[in-house]
C-alpha cells in the first residue's frame, strides 16, 4: 500500500497509535472473528454429531453429487482469484480492469448461488430434506435397499442443509454487497488509488467465505 493510500485510510484526526490498520479493515477482521465462531459452532456440532451418530454415515457421493459441487468449488475459488485481480487493478490505478474483475467476481458468486439452489431443488426432489428422507422418495427406496444407512439420514439432512444453507446465505450477502459497491462506487469511478477500502474489505469477506466453503466441501462432500 502506498504512503498516500495509508493516509487516506487512517482516522481524520490525530490519535494514539493503535494497530496500523484502518478502521474498516480492522472492523472486518473483527467481524470475521465472530464469523469464525459462528461457523465453528455449526461445524463443531456437525463433527460431534457425526462422531456420535448411531451407525455409519452415508458414503460420499451417494446422496450428494460431488462432481457438480466440485465445479462449484472451482468457481468460488476462481471468484476469489478475480477478487484479488480487482484489488490489484485498483491499487495499480486501473479502474477499468478493476470493474471487469469485480464483475467477474460477482458473476462467479452468483453462479455459485445459482448452482447451489439447483442442487437443493434436485436433492429435495430426490427426497433429501433437513428432517431426513421423505417417505416414498427415491432416497427412501435406497434406504429400504440398504444402499444408504437410514439411521443417520436425519442428522445428515439437518447438518448438511444448515451448514451449506448458511454458507450460501453468506455468499448471497457477499454478492449483494459487491453489487452495491459496483453500482454505487465502481461504475461512477469513486474508487481511486487513494481510496479503495471498499474493495479490500469486501475482498477479505469474500476470501473468508471461500475458505469456509473449502472446509465445508471437504468435510461434508468428500469425507
Amino acid at each position: 500500500m502506498s504512503q498516500a493510500t495509508a493516509a487516506a485510510m487512517s482516522p481524520p484526526f490525530p490519535a494514539e497509535r493503535g494497530v496500523d490498520v484502518y478502521n474498516k479493515k480492522l472492523g472486518m477482521w473483527i467481524f470475521l472473528a465472530s464469523e469464525v465462531m459462528f461457523f465453528g459452532a455449526l461445524i463443531g456440532s456437525y463433527v460431534i454429531l457425526r462422531f456420535g451418530a448411531p451407525g455409519d454415515w452415508a458414503r460420499p457421493g451417494v446422496v450428494l453429487n460431488i462432481k457438480i459441487t466440485a465445479f462449484n468449488t472451482f468457481l468460488l475459488i476462481c471468484s476469489s482469484v478475480s477478487m484479488v485481480k480487482a484489488y490489484a487493478a485498483i491499487a495499480d490505478g486501473d479502474p477499468k480492469n478493476m470493474r471487469f474483475w469485480l464483475l467477474m467476481t460477482i458473476l462467479g458468486g452468483a453462479c455459485f448461488v445459482g448452482i447451489q439452489v439447483f442442487e437443493y431443488i434436485h436433492l429435495v426432489e430426490r427426497g433429501f430434506l433437513p428432517s431426513g428422507v421423505r417417505d416414498g422418495s427415491e432416497l427412501a427406496e435406497m434406504v429400504a435397499k440398504g444402499t444408504i444407512p437410514g439411521a443417520t439420514m436425519g442428522l445428515y439432512g439437518s447438518t448438511f442443509f444448515t451448514m451449506t444453507g448458511f454458507h450460501g446465505f453468506h455468499v448471497t450477502c457477499g454478492v449483494l454487497s459487491m453489487l452495491y459497491l459496483y453500482l454505487t462506487k465502481a461504475l461512477p469511478g469513486k474508487f481511486t488509488t487513494q481510496d479503495y477500502a471498499g474493495i479490500e474489505v469486501v475482498g477479505l469477506y469474500w476470501h473468508f467465505v471461500d475458505l469456509v466453503w473449502i472446509i465445508l466441501f471437504t468435510i461434508v462432500y468428500l469425507v
Partner: protein, 588 residues
C-alpha cells in the same frame, strides 16, 4: 475515511443542525444511542421486575388469586390463580429479559456506547451507522421477544436456558409460536451484539486520543473492551445454537433429537459455551465502572491498576474454559467435570484480587459518600457474597446437592443484582449529568440506596437458606413437598420483601425522570473526576471535542502530594508533562 458523519461534523461540533429524527431517533451519535439503549433497557428491566413479582406471589401464596390476576386472560391465570404453564412462562421470560435485554443492554449497550468514546477521547464510535444498526436490531429483538407474550399458547416456557428437547418439541412444552419467537429474537439479539462489539473493539484499538496509551485507559474502558471481545466471540455461538433450535422447531431437523441420533447435551454445551462468557459479559463492565466510582469516592488512585487489568483479562480467559460447571450433574463425563471444577475454582483468584484491590483503594483514603460511591461500596460488599457462594457450586460434590436449587438462584442474583445492577445504579447517578446536563437528587439517591440494600438482602439472602433446605428452582408449588414445608415461611418473607423492594424503585423512577427536567444544572465536572468526559460540557455536545484532547497521565491521579487540588484530570497539562508521540500516519 473512517466515518463520514464524524468527519462532516468534526468541524462544527457545537452547531447542531440535524433534524429531530436524525438527532434522537435514527441518531448515529454514540451518546444518543447510549441514552436510547438506557431507555430501552430500563423498560425491559421494569418488565422483568413485574414478571418476577408474579413469580414471587405464586411462591409465597400458591393457589391463591393474585391481586390483579383477574386482568390476565384465562390462558394465564384461572380466576386470578396463576397456572403452571404461565408460571413457567414467567420464569423463562424473567430470565430472558433480565439477562439479555436488561443487564446486558444496560452494561454493554448503554455504558459501552456512552463511555468508550468519551473516556478515550474519540469523536464517536468507529462505525456510527453500524452502531445505530446495532441499536435497532436490539429493538427488533426486544419487540419480538415481548410479542411472544401475546401470541396463541403464550411465550416460551423452557427456562431461559432453553434446554432441549423441552424447548424444541411443542408437544412436550405446550407452547407453539412463542417458542420460535425466542429463537428468532435471540438471532436478532446476536446480530445487535456482534455489530456493537466490533464497533467497541475497533474504536478502542484505533481511535484513542493522543497520549491515551493502553495502560492509561480507565478500567471501565478496559472492562468494556474485554467484554466486547467476549461478546464478539461468544454470542455467535448462541446465535448458531438458536438457529439450530429454530430449525428443530420449524423444519424438523434432528440436532437435539435422541431418537434420530441427535444429542441432547449438545445444546447445553453450545449454550454454556456462550453462557459462561456471558456471565462475565454481565459482570466485567460493572467491575470496571465500580473501579471508577470507588477511586473517585476514595480520592485515591486505584490500588494495583495493572493487576486489575490482568485480573479482567484473566477472568475473561478463564471464562472460556469453565462452561462445563453448569453441567456437573447433566450426565456429562465426570472426568470432564473434574477439569471444569479446577478451572472454575481458579476464577476465584482474579475475583479475589479485584475485591481486595477495591478495599486497598478505600484504605487510607479520604472517602466521599456520594450516591455513586455508596453503590460502589455496596457492589463490593454484595459481589463478595455472590463470589463466595460461587465456590460452593464450583466444588463438584457440593454442587451435586445444591445444583438447580435456590442456592444457585441466590448466587446468580447476588452477582447480577447486588453486583451488576448496583454498579448500573451507581453509573446512572454518576454519568447522569453528562447524559442529561442535570444532577439527580442526592438525598433521594441515598434513601434509594439504603432501602434497596436492606430489602435486596431480605429478598436474596434467605434464598441461600431455602436452597440449603433443597428448594428446587422453577417449582410452581413448593408446598406439595414435605421437605420444603419447614422453609415455606421464608418464601413468604422473601416475597413481601420483594414487593417492598419493587416499591422502593419508585424513588429511583421518580428521581430519574424528574431530575431530567428539574434537577440541579450540572457543572462541567461535578464529581471532581479525572476522566476525559468531564472536560466536556454537560450534556456532552455532538461530536464531543472540536480538537481531540491530549492525555498526559493515567485516570486515577487523586490526592497527588503537592498538587493544588485532590484530582488531576487526564488531559490537564502540567509543566512537567511531555507531548505524546502521534500515530505514524500523521507523524510522517
Amino acid at each position: 475515511m473512517s466515518t463520514a458523519a464524524a468527519t462532516a461534523h468534526a468541524g462544527h461540533a457545537h452547531h447542531d443542525d440535524r433534524s429531530f429524527v436524525q438527532k434522537y431517533l435514527f441518531s448515529t451519535d454514540h451518546k444518543i444511542i447510549g441514552i436510547q439503549f438506557l431507555f430501552l433497557s430500563l423498560f425491559f428491566l421494569l418488565i422483568g421486575a413485574i414478571l418476577s413479582l408474579q413469580i414471587r406471589w405464586q411462591l409465597a401464596f400458591p393457589g391463591q388469586p393474585m391481586p390483579g390476576g383477574k386482568l390476565l386472560p384465562e390462558s394465564m391465570a384461572a380466576g386470578g390463580v396463576l397456572l403452571p404453564e404461565y408460571y413457567l412462562q414467567l420464569v423463562t421470560m424473567h430470565g430472558t429479559f433480565m439477562v439479555f435485554f436488561a443487564i446486558m443492554l444496560l452494561l454493554v449497550g448503554v455504558y459501552a456506547n456512552f463511555l468508550i468514546p468519551l473516556k478515550i477521547g474519540a469523536h464517536d464510535m468507529a462505525f456510527p451507522r453500524i452502531n445505530m444498526a446495532s441499536f435497532w436490531s436490539a429493538v427488533v429483538a426486544g419487540l419480538v421477544m415481548l410479542s411472544s407474550l401475546f401470541v396463541t399458547d403464550g411465550s416460551p416456557r423452557a427456562g431461559w436456558t432453553m434446554y432441549v428437547p423441552l424447548s424444541a418439541r411443542h408437544d412436550y412444552s405446550g407452547a407453539s409460536l412463542g417458542q420460535e419467537l425466542w429463537s428468532i429474537s435471540i438471532i436478532f439479539f446476536g446480530l445487535s451484539s456482534v455489530l456493537g462489539s466490533l464497533n467497541y473493539i475497533t474504536t478502542v484499538i484505533n481511535n484513542r486520543a493522543p497520549g491515551m496509551t493502553w495502560f492509561r485507559m480507565p478500567l471501565s474502558v478496559w472492562a468494556l473492551f474485554i467484554t466486547a471481545i467476549l461478546g464478539l466471540l461468544a454470542v455467535p455461538v448462541l446465535a448458531g445454537a438458536a438457529i439450530m433450535l429454530l430449525f428443530e422447531q420449524i423444519l424438523g431437523t434432528h440436532f437435539f433429537d435422541p431418537s434420530a441420533g441427535g444429542q441432547v447435551l449438545l445444546w447445553q454445551h453450545l449454550f454454556w459455551f456462550f453462557g459462561h462468557p456471558e456471565v462475565y459479559i454481565l459482570i466485567l463492565p460493572a467491575m470496571g465502572m465500580v473501579s471508577e466510582l470507588v477511586a473517585n469516592g476514595s480520592r485515591k488512585p486505584i490500588f494495583g491498576y495493572h493487576s486489575m487489568v490482568f485480573a479482567i483479562c484473566g477472568i475473561a480467559f478463564l471464562g472460556w474454559i469453565v462452561w462445563g460447571h453448569h453441567m456437573f450433574v447433566s450426565g456429562m463425563n465426570p472426568t470432564l467435570g473434574s477439569s471444569f471444577m479446577v478451572t472454575t475454582l481458579l476464577i476465584a483468584v482474579p475475583s479475589a484480587i479485584k475485591v481486595f484491590n477495591w478495599m486497598g483503594t478505600m484504605w487510607r483514603g479520604n472517602l466521599r459518600f456520594h450516591t455513586p460511591m455508596l453503590w460502589g461500596i455496596g457492589f463490593v460488599a454484595m459481589f463478595t457474597i455472590g463470589g463466595l457462594s460461587g465456590i460452593f457450586m464450583a466444588a463438584t460434590p457440593v454442587d451435586m446437592y445444591i445444583h438447580d436449587t435456590y442456592f444457585i438462584v441466590a448466587h446468580i442474583h447476588y452477582v447480577l443484582v447486588g453486583g451488576s445492577l448496583f454498579a448500573i445504579f451507581g453509573g446512572i447517578v454518576f454519568w447522569y449529568p453528562k447524559m442529561f446536563g442535570r444532577m439527580m437528587n442526592e438525598t433521594a439517591g441515598k434513601v434509594h440506596f439504603w432501602l434497596t440494600l436492606i430489602l435486596y438482602n431480605c429478598v436474596f439472602f434467605p434464598m441461600h437458606i431455602i436452597g440449603m433446605a433443597g428448594h428446587m428452582r422453577r417449582i410452581y408449588d413448593p408446598t406439595i413437598y414435605d421437605f420444603l414445608k419447614p422453609v415455606q415461611h421464608w418464601n413468604v418473607f422473601i416475597s413481601i420483601s420483594a414487593f417492598l423492594l419493587f416499591g422502593t424503585q419508585i424513588i429511583f423512577f421518580l428521581n430519574f425522570w424528574l431530575s431530567m427536567f428539574w434537577g440541579k444544572k450540572a457543572a462541567l465536572n461535578p464529581w471532581e473526576d479525572n476522566g476525559l468526559e468531564w472536560s466536556l460540557p454537560s450534556p456532552a455536545p455532538h461530536g464531543n471535542w472540536d480538537t481531540p484532547p491530549t492525555v498526559y497521565r493515567g485516570p486515577y491521579e487523586f490526592s497527588v502530594p503537592g498538587a493544588s487540588e485532590d484530582y488531576i484530570p487526564q488531559n490537564k497539562k502540567l509543566p512537567t508533562d511531555r507531548e505524546p508521540a502521534l500515530a505514524p500516519a500523521h507523524g510522517d
